[in-house]
């Protein structure tokens, strides 16, 4: 029987992974909920966020506060990229078949992914953890929790809450929720739905880019991280419920723990477990944990 400190440590690592996934999946869920499109390129925004953070760090140099600046700068840059893509390219495909919209997002994966290789080369990049948090760890219940992990675990719910409050309480949030339900009526009421869609894309891209920037001190920034993460994001969004915000949050939590403890119970097939879970959800309850039941 594994001791408690081990279980605790394992659940912490599951939580950390979950929070990163939440950042990416939240954006994916948002775009799906409002624009009704599964954005394959979201993983690429995440990857570009990591590369942008690396680049900003190169320019800013090491030092206190630099990392946070770099992370925010990276997220903003990716948000801008997302906005431009939506405004000038994606917008023209709204009338087209769903399949073509999907194909477009996949084409973006190809183009932007290679653009990253052109700009930063093919070798993996490494970013150091911010000095304020790096190198120090908390010892809790016998488990070692690096400060940076703790920060990520606390940041996740904070962003989730902030997001949710925005959606519930602000005018813009109400418009976003309305657009998810009925675009035409909202337009008829005089709201500039086109601009709204752009802002949704911008917000989603910001989250994705931020996720990539924040994960760069922990993992490698390398080609191929986009195609790896997007499938994981799909799993999360499916488990939580496509289009449901809190569903994504809990879906990410579940995914993180399954992966973490999966290696204990079925070490060889922990990857299998994740996809089996995704299939099970789709078979038994396709709308996920907190999604809206299908007609």
């Amino acid at each position: 029987m594994p001791d408690f400190s081990f279980i605790f440590a394992q659940s912490i690592s599951g939580l950390t992974a979950a929070m990163f996934l939440f950042l990416i999946a939240a954006g994916l869920s948002l775009i799906f909920g409002v624009l009704r499109v599964l954005n394959f390129a979201h993983g690429t925004f995440y990857m570009l966020g990591a590369y942008a953070a690396f680049q900003f760090m190169q320019w800013l140099g090491p030092g206190r506060g630099r990392f946070w600046l770099a992370a925010l700068g990276a997220a903003a840059a990716i948000a801008l990229l997302g906005g431009l893509v939506e405004r000038f390219l994606f917008r023209h495909l709204y009338g087209a078949e769903e399949l073509y919209q999907l194909l477009f997002t996949y084409a973006l994966v190809l183009v932007l992914g290679d653009a990253a290789k052109m700009l930063w080369g093919t070798q993996q990049k490494s970013v150091s953890a911010p000095p304020e948090l790096g190198g120090k760890a908390l010892s809790l219940f016998g488990a070692t929790i690096p400060y940076y992990n703790l920060f990520i675990i606390l940041l996740g719910p904070v962003i989730a809450l902030g997001f949710w409050l925005t959606l519930q309480r602000t005018r813009a949030g109400r418009f976003i929720r309305a657009a998810a339900l009925d675009r035409e009526t909202l337009g008829a009421l005089g709201v500039n739905v086109d601009a709204l869609y752009t802002w949704v894309f911008v917000l989603a891209s910001f989250l994705g880019g931020l996720g990539g920037a924040l994960i760069s001190p922990m993992r490698a920034t390398t080609p191929g991280m986009d195609t790896e993460i997007i499938v994981e994001a799909f799993v999360v969004v499916v488990i939580g419920g496509l289009g449901s915000f809190w569903g994504t949050f809990f879906g990410a939590l579940i995914y993180g723990q399954v992966l973490s403890f999966g290696i204990l119970f079925f070490p060889r097939f922990s990857i299998f477990a994740v996809f089996a879970l995704m299939a099970a959800v789709l078979i038994l309850r396709p709308w996920g944990l907190l999604g809206r039941p299908l007609k």
Binding site: A9, T122, Q124, S126, R219, P223, S260, P267
Partner: protein, 394 residues
């Protein structure tokens, strides 16, 4: 009239031969050039390229220049096979020198066998590449192999004051074989040792936290890891953050070249200084004049004052090929294959010989404990020893 005709005839007959002599000897090199494996693959291809340029400057081999065609195999067996076949069928290469992972090597070996193309593997280590059921006349290896590496590491760990040992390796041919060799030999030379935990993340894993936690829960006193390349960078960063190295008092040995200058350089201050590791080469080793000269040339070629340690394997691979072609006095595959058997080449790390039994060269590696050195902005192995592989080769 007759004389002129004869002269023209002679010229016509000789001309194609001269053209034939000018045609370069094409060598195909599938090598990972992107992603975490590129940390090792990219310099390996550059080492090969440097040798090719050096030999071509001296007139080439048998009067013909060598031409190296490098292709990105993405460290994927399927891609490596595809690239190798296109190199053979489209680019008409006469030889293959390349591949890095122990999945790529055996897969390309099959292609080489079917097409009767001599294939020199400079990096894949799995024993399976030259195992009796996989051996064929055209496969040769100038890399070390998992038996040599595992046993060399076991001898080092055996000297440590530890009894609880854990292993962390990728779940594929290389990780499995080198860990098996390590465990078997360690149990032989230090019978009291207990393997308390073994973790098998998938090749390419980015999140090692669950594996690290599971491993540390078993309270190991020493860890043997074969996580390599850019993956080691990620693993060790995460392990360091979780306090692994402090917990085991740095009784950590990272085979898979965890102590190469590439790795320590790219990690900078994040590197867990104090661990043991190995490397095929190190620019600071400097034992022989030949090596010093090679490092000087490499440094100039790569425009790097602390040149890569991986270039050597590409270099040695091409060296053996060139020497074999010279010895065979031909580029015919069968003749070159025969010439490679028992061939001894004076490489920058000393003389190496490919033995007939399994087409394996007696390639050992440098082992050492990493320390901070005032001379360099990154950790180095000190003292660094070349472990002779002969006693480990069955």
């Amino acid at each position: 009239m007759h004389r002129r005709t004869l002269l023209i005839l002679a010229l016509v007959l000789l001309l194609p031969l001269a053209a034939e002599a000018q045609k370069p000897i094409k060598v195909g090199m599938p090598m990972p050039l992107s992603g975490p494996p590129a940390l090792f693959g990219d310099p390996a291809s550059k080492g090969a390229q440097m040798y090719v340029e050096e030999i071509n400057a001296k007139g080439g081999v048998l009067g013909r220049k060598l031409e190296l065609l490098v292709r990105d195999s993405k460290a994927d067996a399927n891609e490596a096979v595809r690239q190798a076949r296109e190199l053979i069928l489209k680019d008409n290469v006469e030889f293959l020198v390349g591949t890095l992972t122990s999945a790529e090597g055996p897969a390309v070996s099959v292609v080489a066998k079917e097409n009767k193309i001599v294939f020199i593997a400079p990096i894949p280590k799995t024993d399976q590449l030259t195992a009796p059921d996989k051996l064929h006349p055209y496969i040769f290896r100038v890399a070390s192999n998992t038996t040599i590496e595992g046993r060399s590491a076991a001898e080092i760990v055996a000297k440590w004051p530890v009894t609880r040992v854990a292993t962390m390796s990728f779940d594929y041919a290389y990780g499995q074989d080198v860990t098996k060799a390590f465990v078997e030999h360690l149990k032989k030379v230090k019978p009291g040792v207990e393997i308390v935990d073994q973790q098998w993340p998938k090749l390419g894993e980015q999140d090692y936290n669950p594996f690290i936690n599971a491993q540390m829960a078993k309270k190991p006193e020493a860890i043997f890891s074969s996580i390599w390349g850019g993956f080691f960078v990620t693993y060790s960063k995460q392990a360091k953050a979780l306090g692994v190295f402090d917990a085991i008092k740095y009784h950590f040995i990272g085979v898979g070249e965890a102590a190469t200058p590439e790795t320590t350089k790219s990690m900078g201050a994040d590197y867990p200084v104090g661990i043991w590791g190995n490397s095929y080469d190190a620019f600071y080793w400097g034992e022989t004049a030949a090596h010093k000269d090679y490092v000087a040339r490499l440094s100039k070629y790569l425009k790097d004052e602390y040149p890569s340690s991986w270039a050597i394997q590409g270099y040695i691979g091409m060296q053996f090929l060139a020497e074999a072609i010279k010895k065979a006095n031909s580029t015919d595959s069968d003749k070159v294959a025969k010439a490679l058997l028992n061939l001894t080449v004076e490489t920058p790390v000393g003389p190496l010989t490919i033995r007939e039994k399994d087409h394996q060269a007696n390639r050992g590696q440098l082992y050492g404990k990493t320390v901070k050195d005032a001379k360099y902005p990154f950790a180095i192995m000190k003292p660094v020893t070349y472990v002779d592989p002969t006693k480990f080769m069955d």
